[in-house]
């Protein structure tokens, strides 16, 4: 039943937070576009999976939302990062960087490097 594996689900949340951090308040379509642009194919289809995730983040208090008007004067729901969300983003970014660095070292390792 799962469309996205757990790792991707986790990364998607991080991408959403980062997008909101860089670009400020965005509506759902805007977020989807940015994530698609940056990540390539990850969100090319099933953009709808974004919405349950947004609800979850909102429940967790990382983001907040309200209705507003878009650039071309459409009514849209705008999401923005909360203070808690910013803190969470920083923490998760650090974690990712550490994990990535460790994994990268493993990939670099060759047999002759090991004593």
């Amino acid at each position: 039943m799962k469309e996205t594996p757990d790792v991707l689900q986790g990364t998607l949340a991080l991408m959403v937070l980062k997008t909101l951090d860089i670009l400020g308040p965005q509506h759902g379509y805007g977020i989807a576009r940015r994530v698609e642009q940056i990540s390539g194919d990850l969100l090319a289809v099933n953009q709808g999976t974004l919405y349950p995730l947004l609800l979850k983040l909102e429940h967790e208090g990382s983001i907040a939302s309200e209705w507003g008007a878009s650039e071309n004067n459409r009514r849209a729901r705008f999401y923005r990062l909360t203070a808690a969300g910013r803190k969470q983003l920083q923490a998760e970014t650090r974690e990712w960087e550490q994990t990535a660095a460790i994994i990268a070292r493993f990939f670099k390792v060759k047999a002759e490097d090991l004593p």
């Binding site: 379509y29 953009q47 709808g48 919405y51 609800l55 429940h59 208090g61 071309n72 459409r74 849209a76």
Partner: protein, 907 residues
């Protein structure tokens, strides 16, 4: 935190029914619009733009479902849905629901009732802080076979100073004291305790204070503490009671405190727990005997509070070391042959005492009833699934998951069980006052029994566990229906699932076996009780009344008007003379509390020193020693076997004489003539001011054994002494004749108080009442188990009736064909009855095996009947088989009268 916040929001959404569906629809619509705009800009045709946008978004239904799952809690939502459905199903078949709920209410209600008794007695025996730290300290002399001989004051001081305990206190076992000065002299039960008693228990006064734990007054400190009940009853809850002087046994005490409401003293009898006065005493100065190391009194109990964190076993090891060093230090007081030891017992064990076995048996019995009710309901559930198999099959065919189906069926059965539990609890709650009357008064902590939240929790927990255990099997069996065959049969004339009908038979056999076990237990208890009731007590309780009075024992013996037996004899003779003039009185006699047959919970036992055999008190065997007036034996119809009984001429100044019973003769002078032998009895009564050696007493007569101590015990050695030679502060007046119990008590009071106006007269009862009270706990457990057994039999009958009806219903096609082919109706009847008999035989076989185990476990509660008693086993088996056959007979008749034509047509 984040998780909690999210969970909380979801629960709120669930509870308020708020959905985010509309918001999602709007957002998705906007999302599509943005995408379509963009696609159009990229040069797509409008239809293509719309199609691509929809593809990119994904299935809106799946998104909605995810979104909804995120918004709310699907598990609970499903549960609520199942519950709604279960309630609907319940209401659709009210007959079935009623029977199932009533059965469970019976099982859970009965179990909860017994649990509430156990909760108050076995589980919470000590209403004090940190009860696990409280212990009783007991002296034993295993070398001479004496247990619990009491602790002397110097030993108590050593224990107190040993560093093993936070503190240790001496307390009496409780006695009576006369409160004079109010309108009517009152007899109140009191305990003398060392001043640190309340700090050992860890309870403070609600008004005033308890005794100062460091108070070192050697005798009574003349301070008194009242119970809340006494304070309210006799002093109108007077807030200025502190400092008031009370005259107790002619001594003046000052009230220093009132204990809180609900405070109960420790002790194994309700008498002890209902103590209303506490007197502080050092147990070492007048009126107590000098505190010699080997002067131990059995009426003294030492309780102590262990240092925190010290286990009883560790404390016992420290104590053993102390005992060894004391033995070396005082070799004369601790002769090697007595092998003095000190033992720690958790205080909780001493409080519950002898009712534990009865209560546990009751709990076991009621547990069986609960099990039978559960099995019965499980059986009903199975029966219903056969009706609902079509519905289940259709659901499954439409794609319902097996786990989902089980969950739904389980919800239904859980609902039934929990409703049953709530109903049972409600009935118990509203009937509690009536039910409490059935509990015998001799049960410890009777007043603490309550239907509280803990009991409710127990009832609910039992319902839920039972519901899950007994709902799961039917649910599982139902969910593995064979789809195609069930649907094809269209629910008509099916031969049923083999698994289900086998399960039902197993359940019925279990039920029958369990009820047989209960019935055997009830039968054995009934026979024991009957034998006890029919046993020849050895004395004649007919038309005898006992009325008590109490002589004061002031702290200064010289102020005691009844200091010597001679002084007391004047009073007693006058009381007897006046009593004989009362209307209807034919005979009158006097005895002490121990002489009241079956009426004393804690007989005083004295060390018996036979001339030329024992030399030290410590080595002597203990013997019960009632004090009676010469008329006592004739009044109670206890025949003299040899020698003579007391005469009016045996008085304080003539040589001391005693009468023993045959048990004492056989035990202490085997193959000898006890007449003329001399003994000494160490005296142990309140008010004794010297430990001087008692005089030699000559045995002058032997009377036949009587069951005065316990109906279950034929011969307990007794040595009787004359009240004119050895006075007693407790006085029981025995009267035989045509007496009116309602008027005799005031008449006796009038006569007694005409002699001495300060004497209270109380507690008038017939010996028949005393006799029946002594059997009250036995009667209670017998009646309860019998009640449970009848319930079990009824349920088992219903169970077998249901199963056979079901079997007949499933086989009606087959029966119809047999009939159509010419089978005799009698054969059909036989066929069905054989089925019932088979089940009964299997149940009885299993049950007899189980009952044999149970009956041996409860052998200690039986009297005069062997745990393998053939009559009981045979009788019970016959009754059970009879009931099973009777219950099968109705469906068998129905099968016999089946009309083959209509039956075959209807299929």
């Amino acid at each position: 935190m984040k998780f909690l916040r999210r969970f909380f929001l979801r629960v709120t959404n669930l509870a308020t029914g708020r959905g985010a569906d509309q918001r999602l629809q709007d957002e998705l619509a906007e999302h599509l619009a943005f995408q379509i705009d963009e696609n159009l800009c990229a040069g797509m045709a409008p239809t293509e733009a719309r199609r691509q946008a929809a593809l990119k978004l994904g299935s809106p239904e799946a998104i909605r479902e995810h979104h909804h799952a995120e918004q709310s809690l699907p598990f609970i939502e499903n549960l609520l849905f199942d519950l709604r459905y279960a309630v609907r199903m319940l209401l659709r078949s009210p007959g079935f629901s009623f029977i199932a709920i009533a059965t469970m209410a019976l099982g859970i209600g009965a179990t909860t009732a017994i649990y509430s008794v156990i909760d108050a007695t076995l589980l919470h025996p000590l209403p004090y802080p940190n009860p696990a730290e409280l212990v009783r300290v007991v002296d034993d002399l295993p070398g001479v076979g004496a247990q619990g001989v009491g602790i002397s004051v110097p030993e108590w001081r050593d224990i107190e100073d040993s560093g093993i305990f936070q503190s240790a206190a001496i307390t009496g076992r409780g006695a009576n004291v006369n409160l004079t000065g109010s309108a009517q002299p009152l007899r109140l039960s009191f305990k003398q305790v060392t001043p640190n008693y309340f700090s050992v228990l860890g309870v403070d006064a609600q008004l005033g204070r308890t005794f100062d734990p460091h108070d070192a007054t050697p005798g009574y400190n003349l301070e008194v503490i009242l119970s809340d009940g006494l304070w309210r009853r006799e002093f109108g809850a007077d807030p200025h009671i502190l400092g008031k002087a009370l005259r107790l046994d002619n001594d003046v005490y000052h009230v220093v405190g009132v204990m809180p409401h609900g405070f109960r003293d420790q002790g194994s009898t309700s008498d002890e727990q209902n103590v209303e006065l506490w007197l502080g005493a050092g147990f070492a100065g007048v009126p107590f005997p000098p505190p010699l190391r080997d002067s131990r009194l059995r009426s003294r109990v030492v309780i102590a509070r262990l240092k925190p964190g010290l286990s009883i076993a560790a404390a016992q090891r420290h104590l053993d070391v102390l005992v060894e060093s004391l033995k070396k230090q005082y070799p004369a007081e601790y002769p090697a042959q007595t092998a003095w030891t000190v033992r720690l017992i958790p205080l909780s064990e001493t409080v519950v005492g002898n009712v534990r076995q009865s209560l546990l048996m009751l709990f076991g019995a009621v547990g069986l009833v609960l099990l039978i009710s559960c099995v019965n309901v499980a059986n009903l559930l199975l029966a219903r699934t056969s009706v609902r198999s079509r519905e289940i099959a259709v659901r499954q065919a439409l794609g319902a998951q097996k786990t989902r189906l089980i969950r739904q069926l389980l919800t239904e059965s859980l609902l039934l069980f929990v409703l049953g539990g709530i109903a049972g609890f409600a009935i118990l709650f509203f009937a509690r006052h009536f039910l409490l009357q059935l509990v015998p008064e001799s049960l410890p902590h009777l007043n603490d029994i309550s239907i509280n939240w803990g009991v409710l929790g127990f009832a609910l927990a039992v319902s839920v566990v039972a519901g899950i255990v007994f709902g799961l099997a039917p649910a599982w069996l139902t969910s593995r229906l064979d789809l195609t065959s069930t649907l094809r049969q269209e629910g008509r004339g099916s031969s049923g699932s083999l698994g289900r009908s086998r399960a039902r038979q197993v359940l019925v056999v279990t039920e029958l076996a369990l009820s047989l076990v209960l019935m055997v237990a009830a039968g054995l208890l009934l026979r024991s009780f009957w034998d006890l009731f029919a046993v020849q007590p050895g004395f004649n309780p007919d038309r005898v009344m006992a009325i008590e009075t109490w002589l004061p024992g002031p702290n200064d013996p010289t102020t005691d008007p009844y200091q010597t037996a001679t002084q007391e004899a004047v009073l007693l003779r006058e009381i007897l003379r006046r009593s004989r003039t009362l209307p209807g009185v034919e005979e009158a006699a006097i005895g002490d509390e121990t002489s009241l047959p079956l009426g004393h919970s804690d007989p005083s036992r004295l060390p018996l020193i036979r001339e030329g055999i024992e030399t030290m008190d410590n080595q002597a065997p203990l013997i019960e020693s009632p004090i009676v007036s010469p008329e006592y034996f004739h009044l109670l119809g206890m025949p003299l076997e040899r020698g003579r009984v007391f005469s009016e001429q045996d008085i304080e100044t003539t040589p001391q004489v005693a009468v023993i019973n045959q048990a004492a003769a056989h035990t202490y002078w085997p193959n000898q003539d006890p007449l003329g032998k001399r003994v000494r009895l160490r005296l142990d009564t309140r008010g004794l001011s010297s430990s001087a050696e008692s005089a030699w007493t000559t045995i002058i007569g032997v009377i036949a054994d009587a069951r005065t101590e316990s109906l279950a015990d034929a011969g307990i050695p007794q040595i009787y002494r004359s009240v004119y030679q050895r006075g007693s502060k407790e006085v029981t007046i025995f009267l035989r004749g045509q007496l009116d119990p309602s008027t005799i008590s005031p008449q006796v009071r009038e006569q007694v108080q005409a002699v001495d106006a300060t004497l209270p007269v109380f507690h008038a009862e017939t010996l028949d009442e005393v006799l029946s009270t002594s059997l009250s706990v036995r009667r209670f457990s017998m009646e309860m188990v019998a009640l449970f057994a009848v319930t079990a039999l009824l349920l088992a009958g219903l169970g077998i009736y249901g199963t056979i009806s079901y079997v007949v219903n499933e086989q009606r096609r087959e029966i119809a064909i047999r009939l159509a082919l010419g089978a005799q109706r009698g054969n059909i009847l036989n066929m069905v009855l054989r089925r019932g008999f088979g089940l009964a035989a299997a149940g009885a076989g299993l049950g007899v095996a189980g009952a044999l185990i149970i009956s041996h476990l409860m052998a200690g509660l039986l009297f005069g009947v062997s745990p393998n008693d053939l009559t009981t086993f045979a009788g019970v088996t016959i009754v059970l088989t009879g009931v099973a056959l009777a219950a099968s007979y109705i469906p068998a008749l129905r099968a016999m009268r089946l009309d083959p034509i209509t039956t075959l047509h209807s299929d």
